[in-house]
């Protein structure tokens, strides 16, 4: 298990690094919209409004839109999994690192695969 983890570390770190970089950059705009503008009623989901199903579906189903959604879902998952793993290590879990890490990365992998399916479905 440890050997497998060591072989995957460079890839995991790359995904985690992009999770912080690209994921964070993309998340800010999304959170501003759904966390501030939407509850305040500045944007809405009505038929002629910015977040209407028709409009968002059109935007999301473009190649760029699908890629952005994929990045928005998958990259934060890798950042999250990696940091939670480090929380375990920092709190005395180093001796059980391999199974904890592989479980967390399996969760991130499952979420990423589900994201791929979700954007293909659009």
């Amino acid at each position: 298990m440890k050997a497998l983890l060591l072989r995957l570390e460079p890839l995991i770190w790359l995904l985690f690094g992009q999770g912080i970089l690209i994921g964070t950059i993309l998340l800010t705009g999304w959170l501003l919209v759904v966390g501030v503008l939407l509850p305040l009623g500045i944007v809405g989901t009505g038929a002629d409004e910015a977040l209407s199903y028709r409009r968002i579906y059109l935007l999301a189903s473009t190649p760029v839109g699908r890629l952005v959604i994929l990045a928005l879902v998958a990259l934060p998952l890798w950042k999250g999994a990696h940091h939670i793993r480090h929380l375990f290590i920092d709190h005395g879990g180093a001796d059980h690192d391999a199974p904890i890490a592989l479980s967390l990365y399996a969760i991130a992998t499952a979420g990423s695969l589900a994201a791929i399916v979700a954007v293909i479905r659009l």
């Binding site: 060591l6 570390e9 460079p10 890839l11 995991i12 770190w13 790359l14 480090h86 290590i89 920092d90 709190h91 005395g92 879990g93 180093a94 690192d97």
Partner: protein, 247 residues
């Protein structure tokens, strides 16, 4: 000029007599220009000759006098007493086993150093007739900062990963390995990157940046470790494209 008196609470540990470390308090007159090491030397010279600790150059180049001062790793020859209040707590370097009093076991540190092969690796030894190997100022800048390490081990005391992961290579060792990887004379990057990606993997570093915060020589080991991660990923990716000898 006298600064009055200060109290020093110092960790003591004699493996022949103590089951675990204890503390002793010393109240001594101090001078305004003293460093912490001056106070410790005064205690040993005038009050308690049994106090054990490492020190040497008194000018922050030998790396011997690292200790915890009020919970933070410091070179005691470089740390002014006037920065502190009436009471100081002096402990051996954190995250290391303690041999006696303020003297820590360094062999674990030396073991990690050896693993990163901290020497110029060349496929063929250069003949004398070939003359010196020239490097431009730019070549030098690529690694010079990381060659300034004095092996004081403060970074190991500051690192949260060192505290919890015994196999992690640690800041200074990785910085030194990176120093050689970035040296234009060296041809051993493949070997070192295999070490970096193996047991004690550099990817355990969580970029707390504490090592760079405490480094007395501005080596910036955190920068080195994270540059090394980047290089190791490039090396890993290129290993799928370029066939090389089995690691």
């Amino acid at each position: 000029m006298s600064l009055g008196t200060k109290k020093f609470v110092i960790t003591r540990f004699d493996p022949d007599r103590d089951t675990e470390p204890r503390t002793e308090e010393y109240e001594i007159p101090v001078q305004s220009d003293w460093k912490v090491l001056d106070a410790i030397n005064f205690i040993k010279d005038e009050i308690d000759g049994s106090l054990s600790y490492r020190w040497s150059c008194r000018m922050a180049v030998c790396g011997s006098c690292g200790m915890m001062v009020n919970g933070e790793p410091k070179l005691t020859c470089k740390t002014a007493l006037s920065s502190y209040g009436d009471s100081l707590t002096i402990e051996p370097l954190a995250n290391f086993p303690t041999i006696r009093d303020l003297v820590v076991e360094m062999d674990g540190f030396m073991d990690k150093f050896q693993k990163v092969k901290p020497w110029i690796i060349q496929a063929k030894e250069r003949a004398v007739e070939e003359g010196p190997q020239h490097q431009s100022p730019e070549d030098l800048q690529a690694f010079k900062q990381f060659s300034m390490c004095i092996n004081c081990m403060l970074c190991y005391s500051a690192c949260p990963v060192v505290a919890t992961d015994p196999e992690f290579l640690g800041p200074a060792a990785i910085a030194l390995g990176h120093r050689y990887n970035m040296d234009s004379r060296d041809e051993g990057a493949d070997e070192r990157n295999a070490v970096f990606r193996g047991e004690g993997t550099i990817f355990s570093c969580s970029y707390a940046n504490e090592c760079s915060e405490v480094c007395p020589k501005n080596v910036d080991p955190a920068g080195a470790v994270n540059q090394a991660k980047f290089n190791a990923v490039v090396d890993w990716a290129s290993s799928f494209v370029v066939k090389r000898e089995k690691e």
